[in-house]
Symmetry: C2
Subunit: 438 residues, 2 copies
């Protein structure tokens, strides 16, 4: 008897798409064993049909015409791996409208147009898999949707951008300033030519909107998440962090106590915390639930083959549903959209934290007093001060650790301090995260 | 319209069972939102119907008669939380024979009678959930069965017994010898009155047989897993480990290269490895796949509420299958038993490793030469020796790090060395695990 086939169409034959083809070929026998059916690549659409991707395919599968793929009634599942907002959005909606299940790795698309797409999928009764959109090959979407489904989660946080974690851990472990480490990473293909999404925290914020929906059942707007990247992190700050027993990481954090706090920012994490040891391109996502307490999920958050494992795991799950007549047995987020709570994210004015502050000042009497005065005006109290070396006239760092301070008052104070004649560079302010738990 | 109910019977109203009742009550609204149906506790069987578990239940649900529960045609899913081999085995098989789905936390049962139970479930077309049997609330079963289903896994390893990890990390971070730390843990309810399963590695070996089946698709026999516990780990060894940059952990390891290596033993883990930071009652399980590389999953591996989250997550998944008419859409292990490969575990004679050896000897000339001679006879070569202090006649430690050595030759050498007149205590030998990968 011929093995039944689930037919798959791929839009976007780039790095991840190539990985998916490789993995489907390599794991073919195992997949048939597990599913009792084949996953058959039926059509591959891309604007570039020429480049050799180093993978063997029947060239007749290739097409320039994504619409033809979307309209092909023999195709069961469409994989969208082109990235970006348009035409990815249009293609995904067209696939759903045509009754196809969809697998995508496109976090930007889901962060911005997620509600439209999730709604369309729910109404059409199709499956939408997006495991590859957060944490690469770490099955964090399934963990949140199914594994932790019985708990009331209160927080989700971690390191979700591999590029910026690679840059920060290289700066920490090998030295170098942001600019040079970024350039080296670009040369090694570990950072994009245009690194904005990664190093400015935008990619992390995209992922955080998805994690918040999955873990907390809350609906938020991307633009409400206070977001900062790692461009301003300097070697000087990394070294002070070390002296104080901390490591600087770009964190994405969401916690619900009295209201929802959610932000993407560099932060100082205690050296003893597990997140402090998450180095290189690794991602790590922690979840805190009322019943389970903290749990954590680590692995490679990007790369051809890691990401491909997530895409193919989605294909297998969706294929199972088709084979058992149980499509849409779990909603994409694990609950119907109607039960999602529109939730306000606390603005910067309501966020408080202890901060590490670093100023480069011309060393002359009275500077510290001026700085302390401005902080005091903004009700920011000082826990400790370090002023290393003394060399009248030279530029020296002043490092201050604050008590719990309000983020917007701090911004105001920093603006004021930045205007002092003795202050020679943009002040640095980094959150200190002593209360992450675990 | 009344919400549909999935009716659940519970056998074993102990700590975890109480947690399950609590969680079902606490999360009732969320569960209905997610499933579109209620999970209704229909019957609770236990031999003790008197004790107040501190949870509100309709006392009419309680029964002494597990068989009546198993024969109740209105019950859809049976939760087995009594533990032990019999009558748990009989009850689980009876539930399956009666067409009920089963959820269990009983790793001992599945490690020893798994094949019989998995076969029965597969033939009957019922679902069998056992998320709570490994890693407590960490959803590692789902991760392996679904999340990493597309990869070819080569290794699964980690810290899977919370009690022994608690004891070892207390010994490491606060001092104390095994016996006293165990007694303190027993007083705090963190170790059982009879701690054998936990501290002798048996519980970890139970879990490892399940992890091997899930991650590697291999069928193994529990009794073939070389297993050792932590009773012989001494403060002296923990301190030497620290000096060398290691932490001693009870590891459960399975790796497939040329054949399957699987064992449970205390081992020295490099301080920089993430597993070295897994302290207290935490569990951590790492998986290495060809495509994904290493990924790791951490959380509380035991306790009432953490374990209850796993049980209820299983209930929710199985309820979904009933609601969508897709029971048994995934086999318990993620693949049909027929495709499981009976696999030989390498016996001790084929295992090699670097070892830390520690001898307590009467300090007199020639002792080291005798020890080195016996090691040499067994083809064990020495990488370094530390002999601290010199005090002729006193008892002093000799610490040796070996190069890669065969475990059975080492056992023979240790027996020989143990017989030397100058050797004053049982020699200690601990694997050094430098090649775990992140």
């Amino acid at each position: 008897m011929a093995t039944r086939a689930i037919r798959v169409g791929l839009i976007g034959f780039g790095t991840i798409g190539t990985g998916v083809i490789k993995l489907l070929q390599r794991q073919q026998r195992q997949i048939v064993q597990k599913l009792g059916a084949r996953l058959e690549m039926a059509r591959i659409a891309d604007i570039d049909l020429k480049t050799d991707r180093g993978v063997k395919i029947d060239r007749r599968l290739l097409t320039n015409d994504a619409q033809a793929l979307l309209d092909d009634p023999s195709i069961d599942i469409v994989i969208e791996l082109m990235g970006g907002y348009e035409p990815a959005r249009r293609f995904v909606l067209a696939a759903i409208a045509n009754g196809k299940d969809v697998v995508t790795a496109n976090k930007a698309l889901l962060a911005v147009h997620g509600r439209e797409i999730f709604t369309a999928a729910e109404r059409a009764g199709v499956d939408l898999g997006f495991e590859a959109s957060v944490g690469g090959g770490i099955p964090i979407i399934r963990v949140l949707r199914d594994g932790l489904a019985a708990d009331h989660n209160r927080a989700v946080y971690g390191i979700v951008n591999g590029t910026s974690n690679y840059i920060l851990s290289t700066m920490t472990n090998q030295g170098g300033e942001f600019g040079e480490v970024l350039r080296a990473a670009q040369q090694q293909g570990l950072a994009e030519a245009n690194p904005t999404y990664d190093v400015d925290g935008i990619d992390a914020a995209h992922k955080l909107t998805l994690l918040i929906q999955l873990a907390l059942g809350a609906r938020v707007r991307l633009q409400d998440i206070p977001t900062a990247g790692i461009r301003d992190v300097s070697q000087l700050d990394i070294n002070y962090a070390k002296d104080f027993g901390y490591v600087i990481k770009l964190l994405a954090v969401a916690k619900e106590d009295d209201g929802l706090e959610a932000w993407v920012q560099p932060a100082m994490v205690p050296r003893a915390h597990l997140l402090a040891d998450v180095n290189g391109a690794l991602n790590a996502i922690a979840v805190r639930g009322e019943a389970l307490g903290a749990s954590m999920y680590l692995g490679l958050g990007a790369g051809m083959m890691p990401t491909a494992t997530a895409v193919v795991a989605d294909l297998m799950e969706i294929a199972r549903n088709r084979l058992h007549g149980s499509r849409a047995r779990v909603a994409p987020l694990g609950y119907p959209l109607a039960s999602q709570r529109p939730t306000r994210i606390k603005p910067l004015t309501e966020l408080t934290s202890e901060f590490y502050l670093r100023f480069l000042v011309q060393d002359r009497p009275g500077v510290l007093a001026r700085i302390a005065g401005i902080l005091g005006e903004q009700h920011i109290s000082i826990a400790s001060v370090i002023q290393k070396g003394r060399e009248i006239g030279a530029t020296v760092p002043i490092v201050i650790r604050t008590h719990e301070a309000q983020a917007d008052r701090l911004q105001r104070a920093l603006r004021g301090i930045g205007r002092l004649a003795a202050v020679r560079a943009k002040p640095a302010a980094i959150r200190i995260e002593d209360s992450l738990g675990q």
